[in-house]
Structure formats: structure tokens, C-alpha cells
């Protein structure tokens, strides 16, 4: 079959990470002839989601391949449960209440029962949220790619305050309902948040003209907020630390507040089955418009040469075949080093962890989907983003939760994140049916990811390098970079114009060209992509 692969394309994209996939879709959408390759047998690269089996393979691959460890390192996997079920091993003589097996929700999990249900896990390498009015949601809607995906709303935002988990009031209703802040504080908070959203640019410049070199915390203190409220606004809403610059804090707050009330109680959406679905949505659009897909296709060599007419051609050797294109779009981890301009000196790697637990970090009536922003434990530490997802998101079997930790690396993933894990989970293993205050951690994985999120220039004009995942909460940087790369390849062209709905596609009986797309004009204003 490989022999059928055509050799000449306008654009070849190597790697199916988020940025690469968006660029592939955008190029194909406006009529470029696109080939999209990936060296592995699945989509997403470091942005992928894995079932439990796939994740085990990933861990093995990384641990046995020093080259992969340049991207992902310090992998530490640990089980807190038995290999096989008690009935089989009959090892423990503990007095377990075997009568009627107790609460059915308190299933006793074993490593074998994880393996038996491996397909029900979808574990993200790069878990991220979408702001309900952020650039990715707007792009998915305006391009009509939204039809390939489904989402769930994050149901609550939590913070860590006075050594315990606390819900953060997000909406007007929340603010009034919460018992965590007093009446006077409620008014202060409302006034503060309303004014941040309400400022137009001029008012903004006016209000903040003297705050350029000051911190957001200083601003909030200046406004007379109590320490409690400062914590809510700074840590939970703006996602910042004491050193967060004032203007950045205001910007982050505004982004949070603007996304409230569109889809649910919080500003955030989580993709069903995990973030790894999203690159695939863009790839499908690329394929629908004629893009050719080929997984399991590593590349060996990339060269650029100037043709007789002065145009640059990029040639790629792959499985003893030579592929030619005008533009090569390539993920940074796939890109030969000689094509990358010297790396930026300053970069901070990412510390990550995944936990599988037998309950939510904070009990709730309906299954929660939680964002927790954990403030730094000390001045040397960084804030940690915690995402907890349950069975309703397609992330794990019933009775379990998957919890992700993400932070900028200080020492290594385990040292950076274990202290926080110990605060919200019971890491001691042991009897799963015991009624503990904190959920039991059943399995954990710590790892570091090299930071490849800074935009990188290439040594050739027709080679475009895509960044890897960043430690941020959302996909905004990926979307922004993809649009920039697209504009370089296709200057003056529209970035992902709306794809027609299937009903609008007119098939002709004896066409020699592709099907035509006809857009319905009857309801022009209803089609307005942005609100």
C-alpha cells in the first residue's frame, strides 16, 4: 500500500500534535494539497490520550529509548494496590467486612481489574481546558470543526486555603450563595470583578497606568480587598502567584470572567475522551478536504534545495521514498537539529503527574469535573494546576477518577508534586473500602516534559517548526502559533473559513473535479461566526 503514496505535495506536515494538525486543516481547507505524516501508530504525539494499555506501552517505549528521554524523562510509575484480587491470592487475613460487600461504589480495585478495563481509560499526556469564549472555542465554531467533538463543562473551581479545599465562587449566584465570605466581602468582590470586566481599553489604560511594574497582589491590596478575597482573585481566578504582574493578572481575570455563563457554571470546557481528541478533529477536516494521512511513517532526512526557477523545494526521505513539497510543517521533536535556529537559552521544563483514585478530592452530589489551582507551598515553588475528571468524561471506568497535576519544574516531577498529592490524596495504599476522608490513590505516574513550547525559527524559509505542549491551562498558544504558521504559508488567505455542512454539499453526476460547496445565503446573519 505504501507504494501508492503520492510523492508531490504543496504542504507536508510531519507530526500530529495540536499545532501541526491545525495548520494541516487550515492549508487543506483553502485547497492546498496536503500530506500529513506521523512516525507513530496514533495521533497526537505528546498531545495524545492513551488507554491504559497504550499508556503502558508509552512508558516502556520512553524508558527503553534514550532519544525519547530528551522529550520525556524521570518517568516514575507506582501502584498502590494488589496485583490480583484477594479471592485469588487469599493472602491477607484482615477482617474485611465481606458481608454483602458493603457499598457497591467502594469496589476493590486490583492491577488486574485495571488491565481488564483498559479501554475505558483515556489518559491525557497534555490535559488542557478550553475557555468558553476563548480562541479555540471560537475557532471550532467558526470553522465548523466543532461538529467532530463533544465537551463537558467544568462543574467547579476549587482552591487551597487555610490548609483545606474550598470552592471558589465563580458566578453572581455563587458569590451570593457562598458561606466562605462575609457580606461586606461579597460586595467588595462583586465590585472588583464587575469593574475589571467593564473597563474598556481607555478606562483600562487610565486605571492601570501606574501599575506597569507592580504586582497584581499589590493592586488588590491597594483596592482594600481582604486577604481571603485576594487569595480567591489572585490564585483561583487569575491563576497567579504573589509575583504575578498587575496587568497580566487583570488580563487573566478578564479572560476568566468573560467566559462565564456561556455553557455552565464555570468558564471552562473539557473535551470528551480527553484533549487528545482535538488534534484528530482538525485532522479529519484536513482529510475531508483531501489531505492524505499516513501514520507509522517515520522520516529519515530533510533537505532543501533551490529549483531552476528559483523556488525552494523541500525533499523528505521516508521509507526509501522521496517526498517533495513547497512547505514543510514539522513538530519540533521530529525536526532535524540542523534545521532549527539556536534554541532560546531560557526555558523551564514541565513537571507532571497523573493519579488514579477511588473518589473525588471533594465529595459532591453529581459527578464533579474540577479545576483546582494549588498555590505555591513556599516561595521557591510554583503554583500547580490540578484537573480532576471522572467516568462521565470517558476518562476512566465507573468508581474512579483521573487527576492531573501540571506545574513548571523546580527540581523534578516527584519532588515538585508529591507534597501536594499528599495533601489531597491518601497515598498510603491499604484497604480501599475504608471510609477515609481523602480518596485513596491507586496508581500514580510522575514525569517531566522538556519545554519545547517557545516558538522556534527554522534555518529555511519553507520549513516551519511547531512548538510542543506548554504548561498553560488552555490551548491558546497552540491556536495562535498555528495561525501564524498558516499565514506564512498562505499569505492573504482566510484561516479556517467555515466548512459547509454535509447538506450544503452538492454532488454532481458526472464531475471531473471535486464536489462543489454551496453555501446557503438565506440566513446570512445567523451564520455570523462570532457573537
Amino acid at each position: 500500500m505504501d507504494d501508492d503514496l503520492p510523492t508531490d505535495f504543496q504542504v507536508i506536515v510531519v507530526g500530529t500534535g495540536m499545532v501541526e494538525s491545525i495548520v494541516a486543516a487550515a492549508c487543506s481547507r483553502i485547497g492546498k494539497n496536503v500530506l500529513h505524516l506521523d512516525s507513530s501508530d496514533h495521533y497526537g504525539g505528546l498531545w495524545a490520550s492513551y488507554n491504559f494499555d497504550g499508556l503502558q506501552k508509552f512508558i516502556k517505549e520512553v524508558n527503553s529509548d534514550p532519544k525519547r528521554q530528551l522529550q520525556v524523562y524521570n518517568l516514575a510509575e507506582k501502584w498502590y494496590i494488589e496485583k490480583a484480587s484477594a479471592e485469588e491470592s487469599k493472602a491477607e487475613g484482615e477482617e474485611k467486612p465481606e458481608d454483602g460487600k458493603g457499598d457497591p461504589a467502594k469496589k476493590v480495585w486490583t492491577q488486574d481489574s485495571f488491565a481488564a478495563e483498559y479501554r475505558k481509560f483515556n489518559i491525557d499526556m497534555t490535559p488542557k481546558l478550553l475557555f468558553s469564549r476563548g480562541p479555540l472555542v471560537e475557532l471550532l465554531i467558526s470553522s465548523n470543526i466543532a461538529r467532530y467533538a463533544e465537551f463537558r463543562c467544568v462543574t467547579r473551581v476549587l482552591t487551597w486555603l487555610s490548609d483545606k479545599l474550598m470552592p471558589v465562587p465563580c458566578s453572581r449566584a455563587d458569590v451570593f450563595a457562598t458561606e466562605a465570605v462575609g457580606i461586606v466581602e461579597k460586595r467588595q468582590l462583586m465590585k472588583m470583578l464587575t469593574s475589571i470586566v467593564g473597563y474598556n481599553e481607555e478606562e483600562m489604560n487610565n486605571e492601570f497606568k501606574d501599575w506597569n511594574d507592580k504586582t497584581f497582589k499589590e493592586y488588590l491590596t491597594h483596592k482594600g480587598l481582604t486577604p481571603n478575597l485576594i487569595h480567591y482573585v489572585l490564585s483561583a481566578i487569575a491563576g497567579g502567584t504573589n509575583s504575578m504582574p498587575c496587568l497580566e493578572g487583570v488580563k487573566e481575570c478578564k479572560k476568566f470572567l468573560m467566559s462565564l455563563g456561556r455553557y455552565g457554571n464555570t468558564p471552562f470546557l473539557w473535551p470528551m475522551y480527553g484533549s487528545g481528541e482535538l488534534p484528530q478533529c482538525f485532522c479529519r477536516l484536513c482529510a475531508v478536504f483531501g489531505g492524505v494521512y499516513c501514520l507509522n511513517r517515520p522520516i529519515d532526512k530533510v533537505q532543501t534545495k533551490t529549483a531552476d526557477d528559483g523556488k525552494t523545494v523541500v525533499t523528505i526521505d521516508s521509507k526509501s521514498k522521496t517526498l517533495n513539497c513547497d512547505h514543510l510543517v514539522i513538530g519540533i521533536n521530529e525536526c532535524p537539529k540542523d534545521l532549527i535556529s539556536p534554541e532560546p537559552a531560557e526555558s523551564c521544563d514541565i513537571s507532571k503527574a497523573v493519579f488514579i483514585t477511588n473518589g473525588s478530592i471533594m465529595k459532591s452530589d453529581k459527578e464533579p469535573l474540577t479545576l483546582l489551582r494549588f498555590p505555591p507551598l513556599s516561595d521557591e515553588d510554583n503554583a500547580v494546576t490540578v484537573l480532576e475528571v471522572g467516568p462521565a468524561t470517558g476518562s476512566c471506568p465507573k468508581g474512579l477518577f483521573v487527576v492531573y497535576f501540571i506545574t513548571n519544574k523546580v527540581k523534578d516531577a516527584e519532588s515538585d508534586l508529591m507534597p501536594i498529592a499528599e495533601k489531597i490524596f491518601d497515598m498510603s495504599g491499604g484497604d480501599q473500602t475504608a471510609d477515609t476522608e481523602k480518596p485513596k490513590c491507586l496508581w500514580s505516574l510522575f514525569y517531566n516534559v522538556k519545554d519545547t513550547s517557545a516558538p522556534v525559527a527554522s534555518t529555511a524559509d519553507s520549513v516551519h517548526v511547531c512548538s510542543g505542549p506548554d504548561a498553560g491551562l488552555d490551548f491558546d498558544r497552540a491556536v495562535e502559533q498555528a495561525e501564524q504558521i498558516f499565514k506564512k504559508i498562505c499569505p492573504g488567505q482566510e484561516f479556517l473559513p467555515r466548512a459547509p455542512d454535509p447538506e450544503e454539499i452538492v454532488f454532481e453526476d458526472d464531475v471531473t473535479h471535486g464536489p462543489e460547496f454551496q453555501r446557503e445565503d438565506e440566513d446570512a446573519e445567523g451564520d455570523a461566526p462570532k457573537e
Partner: protein, 208 residues
């Protein structure tokens, strides 16, 4: 159970390149056929309303968009399928041999709740051609050996059995869907669209 609820069935069509997946969809939905073969471009999914036992059912039939050509369909394509249609070309034995691996691939990737009873339908397409190479008997035997998968011999070109096959697909998918509903504890996934304000809570969208 509210049986008057609008039902949407996701049907996916698999099979080797060139067996006529897109043509079958197009014949069923648009009553059109083009002799001009080209690898699938522009085909995404087609929807058609059908009536099954007095119920109006919307079938959403998903094409591979050509991603099957180099075995590069991603897991996202398979999510939430209610029925899987496997197509081969009766004039090309290789496409018949591939059915087994397409079926396996589907079961692995889509991981349906009850793999043994998941509804498949097999279509032997292009029966209008003279150079037939896979006999009806051989195909039927294979289908029987796989838990009695329904088998239809079709011609997308001459509209042979296409309507009947898709009726069966809808019926079997619906049976699966009704069963799945009982298990669907989390019904409120969000679809994004332009004028959607989601579950807009009373006057709460201006931040606090």
C-alpha cells in the same frame, strides 16, 4: 422511557479503499451515483431521516474521509458508533479478506460496551459487474460464522438493495441505541455552535 425523543444514530462505514463506501452513502441519501472514481474528497457525513417502526430516526452516516487508505483512522472517528457497516467489493477478493481485520479494528478502537452483540452489517457491493470473484455463499458463510451478521449484496450504481440494507442498519442500530440509553448515565454532553449560549442560567452571563 420517552420513545418520542428525537433519535440520532451514528453509523460508520468501513472497508478497503475503492469498495464503494462513499457511493453507497450517496446512493442512499442523495439517490445519485458517479462512475468517476476518486479517492474520497469532501465526503464527511451524510444525514437522512428514516422511519423505523413508526419512529422517526435520523441516521448520521460517517465516511472515512480517505483516512483508511494508509490505515490511519484515529480512535476519535469510532467514538459513539451505534452501528458499523463493513463493505467489500465482490469483484476483489482482497477486500473480502480485509473484512476480518476491519471488524477487529472496529472492536478495538470503538470498544463497544457489549462487543459480542454490537450490530454490524456486511455489504458485498458492485454486484452489477460481470467479473464477480467472491460468491454469495462464501460471504454468507463468513457472516454466519461471526454471530450471524446480516449480509446484503448491493450495487450502489444500480441502487440494488441499498435502501433495504440501510433500513436494516437503522433498525439494528436503533435496537442497540435503545439499549445503550438505559446505560447512559451522563446524557448532557455539550455540542458547540454559533448561537448557543448553552444552558444559559438566568441573567448570569455578565460575569458576576
Amino acid at each position: 422511557m420517552s420513545s418520542r425523543k428525537k433519535v440520532l444514530l451514528k453509523v460508520i462505514i468501513l472497508g478497503d479503499s475503492g469498495v464503494g463506501k462513499t457511493s453507497l452513502m450517496n446512493q442512499f441519501v442523495n439517490k445519485k451515483f458517479s462512475n468517476q472514481y476518486k479517492a474520497t474528497i469532501g465526503a464527511d457525513f451524510l444525514t437522512k431521516e428514516v422511519i423505523v417502526d413508526d419512529r422517526i430516526v435520523t441516521m448520521q452516516i460517517w465516511d472515512t474521509a480517505g483516512q483508511e487508505r494508509f490505515q490511519s483512522l484515529g480512535v476519535a472517528f469510532y467514538r459513539g458508533a451505534d452501528c458499523c457497516v463493513l463493505v467489500f467489493d465482490v469483484t476483489a477478493p482482497n477486500t473480502f479478506k480485509s473484512l476480518e481485520s476491519w471488524r477487529d479494528e472496529f472492536l478495538i478502537q470503538a470498544s463497544p460496551r457489549d462487543p459480542d452483540n454490537f450490530p454490524f452489517v456486511i455489504l458485498g457491493n458492485k454486484v452489477d459487474l460481470d467479473n464477480r470473484a467472491v460468491s454469495a455463499k462464501r460471504a454468507q458463510q463468513w457472516c454466519q460464522s461471526k454471530n450471524d451478521i446480516p449480509y446484503f449484496e448491493t450495487s450502489a450504481k444500480e441502487a440494488v438493495n441499498v435502501e433495504l440494507a440501510f433500513q436494516t442498519i437503522a433498525r439494528n442500530a436503533l435496537a442497540q441505541e435503545t439499549e445503550a440509553e438505559l446505560y447512559n448515565e451522563f446524557p448532557d454532553q455539550i455540542k458547540l455552535n454559533a448561537n448557543d449560549n448553552g444552558r444559559n442560567r438566568d441573567g448570569d452571563n455578565c460575569a458576576c
